[in-house]
């Protein structure tokens, strides 16, 4: 009774198209061995009957030929998708590195093809692989689903199942017996089994490959398009950043400087700038008061040893002796023309402390006839010359003390006094030498 009800129900379903399902129904046969299944399939095919499909726990080799399945065109998909990935990667790298955000890195050209190759390869593989899998799933109508269609018991375990048509000239019973002889464990006749829906058989109405490929490409294109179209900010350039990167403000070697007058690039150093490596400036100023202070405060930084005095002699003879004379008596080579300095061996000058003499050597004489030698003779050499002068003066003092001439005690003192202020105005060359002792 249940069968009658079921038959009525099934007859009320929409009828399949004429050439797809034979009137006699469908046969299912279960085998325990893949070779037996293959032989059975070949047998049925040899009878001119159609084998709709086989269901096995693993792919049986030779079945594709037995079922005359055309070779899959999926490798083409891999190739196309891979090419897409490759060109996509090339476009991405080229556009970002050459057009949109060019930055010279390591002196390499902007279109650094060798550097771009790794990504070309990786994206070929990625898009090729994912595209192939997506197309495969689409083609095979595989998707997450709660009810598996056309699932035969044991197909994923240990049974090898075929589903074939029962055509004219064969009855179910005959074929069934023949198959049992070939090793079939079970045969079943399916008329319009709920598990097989002929007009929507997945093997009858497959998705053609170009359509499947197109569907597989829709999501990436949509995402890309949406990304570009919706993300307006991405097309809005940030000018401050751009100006900084595209037009750097670093100056070239011969560009005029916009900062200094006349576009000059170099300025003179400021007043009071001390050259690197130069000696520290003297903490005394020119002038009489400062000269006196130097006499009180300044001491020679060098010891008065043989080497320094020898050097001092060299400096004296080279520079100072021209005017002052080798013996500091004021009888140098240019005398009597100019400038006629006083005899530095008189007691007045012997009493001058070395600091005061150094002040004169640095800034010039009190009458401003002698020029300061600060910029011509380095300070250590100046000190050595001063120390040498001091030794000359010491000798003179000793000589005077050892040979006290009757007029010698008083003559130098008054003679020294007028000789200092006397040369202040322009000295007359005739008068002075005579006045000097």
């Amino acid at each position: 009774m249940a069968i009658t009800r079921m038959k009525a129900l099934l007859r009320s379903l929409p009828r399949p198209r004429q050439n797809e399902v034979p009137d006699s129904g469908v046969l299912r046969a279960d085998f325990a061995d893949p070779d037996e299944l293959l032989a059975a399939v070949r047998f049925i095919r040899s009878k001119g009957l159609k084998v709709y499909d086989t269901y096995t726990p693993f792919p049986v080799h030779g079945m594709d030929e037995a079922l005359e399945e055309p070779a899959s065109r999926l490798p083409w998909v891999t190739g196309i998708m891979g090419l897409l990935g490759c060109t996509g990667a090339a476009a991405l790298q080229y556009w970002t590195s050459v057009v949109d955000y060019p930055v010279v890195i390591g002196g390499k050209p902007l279109n650094s093809v060798p550097a771009f190759l790794p990504l070309l390869f990786e994206l070929t593989v990625l898009i090729g692989g994912l595209g192939t899998v997506a197309t495969f799933l689409l083609l095979s109508r595989m998707r997450p689903r709660m009810r598996t269609r056309n699932l035969h018991k044991g197909a994923n375990d240990d049974r090898f199942i075929l589903v074939a048509e029962l055509g004219r000239g064969t009855t179910f019973e005959t074929l069934s017996l023949e198959l049992r002889g070939m090793g079939a464990l079970e045969t079943e006749r399916l008329i319009q089994d709920a598990r097989i829906k002929p007009c929507r058989c997945h093997w009858e109405r497959e998705l053609p490959l170009p359509k499947a490929l197109g569907i597989a490409l829709v999501p990436p294109v949509l995402i890309l398009g949406a990304g570009i179209a919706l993300n307006r900010d991405f097309r809005h350039r940030v000018p401050e950043w751009d100006a900084g990167m595209l037009a750097p403000t670093a100056a070239q070697a011969y560009d005029p400087s916009p900062v200094l007058a006349h576009g000059q690039v170099i300025q003179a150093p400021l007043e009071g700038t001390v050259a690197r490596g130069a000696e520290r400036p003297l903490t005394f100023a020119p002038g009489e008061a400062e000269a006196l202070r130097a006499g009180l405060e300044l001491r020679s930084p060098l010891p008065a040893d043989e080497a320094n005095l020898a050097r001092g002699k060299v400096v004296w003879n080279r520079t100072c002796a021209t005017c002052h004379g080798d013996g500091a008596k004021g009888d140098g080579g240019v005398i009597p023309r100019f400038p006629n300095p006083p005899n530095l061996l008189v007691q007045k000058y012997c009493d001058y402390p070395e600091g005061r003499i150094f002040h004169v050597a640095t800034f010039g004489g009190p009458q401003k006839i002698m020029k300061g030698l600060e910029d011509l003779i380095p300070a250590p050499d100046r000190w050595r010359a001063v120390m040498y002068l001091k030794t000359l003066q010491a000798e003179a003092v000793k000589a005077r003390a050892a040979a006290p001439a009757p007029a010698a005690a008083t003559v130098p003192a008054p003679a020294a006094a007028p000789s200092s202020p006397a040369p202040a105005p322009a000295p007359s060359p005739a008068a002075l030498p005579g006045a000097k002792p």
Binding site: P57, F58, T78, L119, L130, H152, N156
Partner: protein, 449 residues
């Protein structure tokens, strides 16, 4: 290629039903006590690593022992170590498939799972070694409002981003595609109406064993294997270029790509051996992962170990032959300097250990193989450490020379990565079939079809 196997691939003369029952038993029964102890240990390691990473992220890279001279140490060592381990899985899955080596069917599922977990562990390190991982997405060429700023496509560090992402994605997809028939089997065995059946129904994508699907499936599998093979070589080549494209003596060598790829296969197979020897014993899979399988893997280990030894010798020879004083010093320093303990560990583990595998007795004795594989793992970790740290710590300018000492946080992070890897692997063993049942059934009777 017609391959005749003298011994059956799977021992015990099994029927298809037996294969189904035995392979899926671990996924359908409660794990034994030992599993709970094991996962307790690995979860502890993982949480230790989690604490260490939390510290690194919140307190900064200063919690590591890096300095200006040694800017990369444990972080990149661990990264390269895990990526290398991942490569064995793809080699077993893809390359051995292309070479029609049917013995791969017992181990390829577990090996691919190992690859995915290893690449997950590897990917962790470049992320946490960034000063600001929360802007890590700046490493991707996404349209942005920062100029727009684009990434530097000429940098190997960026190639790494793409290579590792591609490798992870393709490996995961390949693994999943391989899983579908077994998920279908699991689904069919699950009790009606259970959550397990619901989840598996969704995951198995309606697989019913139809030949039309199988034929396309085989095509896809072959295509993915063909894509994955050059991918494996390219990924570790790109990783080696992180070093080779620099100017540091000891790094700037054209030998690096093949050296690293061979080293990756070497360390990966050692890890597969370590895992499989334990798993086959514990899960009663000795008839599936037979001594013949272990022997085959041992032979690969021997071959790649010799390649790695040859690479070491080449490095030393070229350093001397080049006459470059800096290159010569780097290698002198490796062997005699402050890190010589690491160097000699590496050499003894990687150069000497494989030669025990010349003996068939050793190759077919699992416990010896296990010990040797552990040594190789240790040696390969030290190889990456030696390459990175000794080349950095003394390069051109002696005034820049510095020493490196890892902090506890770095050591804990390493342990945490092992914890992550082993936890995931333990879970995998009990949730998914560790052996590719459909593939094994396919080679049960006809090893050469």
């Amino acid at each position: 290629m017609h391959e005749a196997h003298p011994a059956p691939l799977i021992e015990g003369n099994k029927t298809y039903k037996q294969v189904t029952e035995e392979v899926f038993r671990p996924t359908e029964s409660r794990p034994p006590k030992a599993w709970f102890f094991a996962i307790a240990v690995t979860l502890s390691m993982l949480s230790l690593g989690g604490w260490a990473i939390f510290n690194t992220l919140t307190r900064g890279i200063g919690t590591w022992g890096l300095n200006k001279t040694v800017g990369w140490a444990f972080d990149i060592t661990n990264f390269v170590f895990w990526v290398g381990i991942g490569h064995a899985g793809t080699l077993i899955s893809a390359i051995l498939f292309l070479f029609r080596q049917h013995w791969r069917t017992s181990i390829n599922r577990a090996a691919e799972a190992m690859t995915i977990f290893a690449v997950m562990c590897a990917g962790l390190f470049p992320i946490i070694h960034m000063g600001r991982p929360w802007v890590g997405h700046w490493a991707l060429p996404l349209p942005n409002t920062r100029g727009p700023l684009w990434v530097n496509f000429r940098s190997p560090l960026l190639w790494d981003v793409f290579a590792i992402s591609t490798y992870f994605t393709v490996s995961a997809v390949f693994w999943y595609i391989g899983l579908i028939p077994d998920l279908a089997t699991q689904r069919d065995r699950a009790p009606e109406g259970s959550t397990k059946k619901r989840i598996l129904s969704i995951a198995s994508l309606g697989w019913n064993g139809s030949n039309k699907r199988w034929s396309r499936y085989e095509t896809v599998y072959g295509l993915l294997a063909g894509l994955a093979t050059p991918l494996v070589v390219s990924v570790h080549t790109i990783v080696s270029w992180d070093f080779a494209t620099s100017v540091i003596p000891g790094w700037h060598a054209t030998l690096f790509p093949p050296y690293f790829v061979a080293g990756a296969v070497f360390s990966g197979f050692a890890m597969v051996l370590s895992l499989m020897i334990v798993a086959r014993k514990v899960m009663d899979f000795e008839e599936y992962i037979t001594k013949a399988h272990l022997e085959a893997m041992a032979k690969v280990l021997l071959l790649t170990g010799m390649i790695v030894s040859f690479a070491y010798a080449t490095e030393f020879f070229i350093a001397w032959y080049s006459g470059n004083q800096y290159e010569r010093y780097v290698f002198l320093n490796r062997a005699t300097g402050p890190f010589k303990w690491a160097f000699w560990t590496m050499v003894s583990c990687n150069v000497i250990t494989p030669h025990f595998l010349w003996s068939k007795k050793v190759r077919t004795t699992p416990w010896i193989l296990f010990i040797l594989s552990i040594f190789v793992n240790i040696g390969m970790w030290f190889e990456r450490f030696v390459i990175i740290v000794t080349s950095l710590h003394r390069d051109f300018l002696p005034s820049s020379w510095a020493m490196y000492k890892p902090t506890w946080i770095e050591v804990a992070t390493l342990m945490g990565s092992f914890g992550l890897f082993l936890t995931l692997f333990l879970i995998f063993c009990r949730v998914l079939p560790m052996i590719a049942a459909s593939e094994v059934k396919g080679v049960l009777k006809h090893g050469d079809h």
